[in-house]
């Protein structure tokens, strides 16, 4: 598991990768930020730090669900890394050919089961932004593979202007430094939050599939994705509230 957290005003950050027994990776990332002179700890060193900090540890089995075991088996048989974002839904064009190629489990499209990254971005009344992202990574990934979630500027970013958390194909997000991109076009091109998110999603991902959520120091909230859907929710102080999938 891996995670990262970033605090806008001073751009302080913390990240972890390769965790297997830490119940809440995001909290360990926070501790890396607050309690070490470093920004990023991984694998055995991160686990050791966790032990020293006394954070809650559990057996690796705690994290494993039946669905995931099933999907791993399918992925290995198909010799693939499962990206739910690429699986066409019944309503997209492509017709019967697409349906036949669709990976299924228990008779339903695999996209319904595929696990995803989680994240949260927040801004307070003072315009202080923060972002956090956490994930188990890609189904059937190579051991030791690190994705975008713990990489500052890729999966997570926060500065004076904005906080961003991304999800999707990690490799595409890394290549496009997606989270930093949103902030960079706001900073360097003067785009507002919504323009920045649209621009970045439309132009920076090429073949890659991803989504992101963002808040600005002005209390705006935006999301964008070039996938079929992105599980999300948002709320603002003036009472607006939304939960969405597509």
């Amino acid at each position: 598991m891996e995670a990262s957290i970033m605090d806008g005003p001073k751009r302080r950050c913390g990240a972890v990768s390769g965790l297997t027994t830490v119940k809440n990776p995001i909290s360990l990332a926070r501790l890396v930020m607050d309690k070490t002179p470093h920004s990023y700890l991984g694998f055995a060193g991160a686990e050791e730090f966790a032990r020293k900090q006394g954070v809650e540890l559990v057996d690796n089995e705690y994290f494993i669900t039946e669905d995931n075991v099933g999907m791993l088996k399918l992925a290995k048989e198909a010799n693939s890394i499962l990206f739910d974002y690429r699986i066409p839904t019944l309503t997209t064009c492509g017709g019967s050919a697409a349906m036949e190629n669709q990976l299924q489990m228990n008779g339903l499209p695999i996209s319904l089961y595929a696990p995803e990254t989680v994240g949260c971005v927040v801004v307070d009344k003072q315009g202080h932004c923060a972002a956090a992202t956490s994930t188990g990574g890609l189904m059937n990934k190579m051991t030791g593979r690190i994705g975008d979630s713990p990489l500052i500027g890729s999966g997570t970013y926060a500065c004076d202007l904005v906080a961003v958390s991304c999800t999707g194909e990690g490799e595409a997000i890394i290549r496009s430094t997606l989270a930093r991109e949103v902030a960079a076009v706001m900073e360097y091109k003067g785009l507002n939050l919504h323009e920045a998110v649209d621009y970045v999603i439309k132009t920076r991902l090429d073949e890659g599939k991803a989504g992101l959520i963002a808040v600005s120091k002005n209390g705006e909230v935006a999301c964008g994705f070039n996938t079929t859907g992105m599980f999300r929710g948002c709320a603002t102080e003036d009472g607006f509230m939304e939960v969405g999938v597509w």
Binding site: R11, R12, C13, A15, S17, G18, T36, P37, H38, S39, Y40, L41, G42, F43, A44, G45, A46, E48, F49, I81, K141, M142, T143, G144, R145, I146, G147, L151, I152, G153, S154, Y157, G170, E171, I174, R175, S176, T177, R180, E181, A184, V185, Y188, K189
Partner: protein
């Protein structure tokens, strides 16, 4: 237009009083790497191959903080990291926590070329190296007496030290005013562009002295220590934590693109995002320009362009 290449052997608090026995081997190393890189560019090798080749040279040189000569973790072990990126395709590869692979940069290249991923670390990276038949050795191969001494001193001073040229003086260091006395150096890198505008960057490091086991710095983080796109290729060095926070390598390219700055202006702009005493970078543009900047006392560096210009420097004025 024309080819260009820049190489660095680390930015930091390199004292002007650096004794010849510490200065000369590094200058010679930079000179050799520059020559290797120039020859490769003249022979029309792709910049990706050029930067990998040059960084391998630097990794094999025990006087630089990468490969052999890497600084040590708090446990006295070596955990190397490296990253490579191709400007045109924006394909990239990175590794961390490598302890037995002779050339971490080549492992990063294999991650880029042979896996669906970008970044592999620790046991997974080591296993992949073996699968790919890369040269591996006992970890002791990388450890030099100088670095054992540096670790000892850092632990006595109970500080995290980046500098590996200057052992901590027992009395108060003259540079105490700079960044709470931490002298900083480390990391090697190379950026290159050919006369068709193909760009590439490669960075490799042992990290910082006395780092926590498992600590990852800026080098393998795309956009922080390493970045290339169609406009430029960048490799940064210095205090990893500051470079990560400043997304330095990405920002050089971003201000070129979004603010229309030239390479040199962009490099200066990005350097302003890092506090004094913390970092340096080298960069080349698609049109064959070179920039080498640092806000530390010095940066071991060298560059050359097709029109015949070349330079090897440590502090502000070129040595040759």
């Amino acid at each position: 237009m024309g080819w260009a290449i820049a190489v660095h052997g680390g930015a930091g608090d390199i004292p002007l009083s650096l004794p010849p026995e510490k200065r000369l081997p590094r200058e010679a190393g930079l000179r050799r790497c520059l020559d290797v890189g120039i020859a490769a560019l003249k022979a029309h090798n792709h910049p990706l191959d050029v930067v990998e080749l040059v960084v391998r040279e630097l990794e094999n040189n025990p006087h630089f903080n990468a490969g052999k000569g890497s600084v040590l973790t708090t446990s006295g072990t070596v955990e190397m990291e490296a990253c490579i990126m191709d400007g045109k395709t924006m394909k990239c590869g990175a590794v961390s926590g490598v302890s037995t692979v002779v050339n971490a940069i080549s492992l990063a290249r294999l991650v880029m070329d042979k896996t669906p991923h970008i970044y592999l670390a620790f046991d997974g990276a080591e296993a992949f190296a073996r699968e790919q038949g890369l040269e591996t050795v006992e970890m002791s191969h990388f450890i030099t007496p100088e670095n054992i001494e540096r670790l000892k001193q850092a632990q006595e001073a109970d500080r995290v030290q980046l500098d590996y040229t200057q052992p901590i003086q027992k009395e108060v260091p003259k540079d105490a005013a700079l960044a709470d006395g931490d002298s900083q150096i480390g990391t090697v890198g190379c950026v290159a562009v050919d006369n068709e505008g193909n760009l590439a960057t490669a960075t490799s490091t042992g990290g910082i002295v006395n780092k926590m086991v498992g600590r990852i710095g800026d080098t393998p983080i795309i956009g922080a220590g390493t970045y290339a796109n169609h406009l430029c290729a960048v490799s940064a060095t210095g205090r990893g934590e500051a470079i990560i926070r400043g997304t330095i390598a990405r920002d050089v390219a971003a201000v070129m693109e979004f603010k229309g700055l030239s390479l040199k202006e962009a490099a200066a702009y990005a350097m302003n995002r890092v506090p004094r005493g913390n970092a340096g970078l080298i960069a080349v543009s698609s049109t064959g320009e070179v920039a080498m900047l640092f806000n530390t006392t010095g940066m071991f560096r060298a560059c050359a362009t097709e029109d015949g210009y070349s330079e090897i420097s440590i502090w502000d004025s070129p040595i040759e």
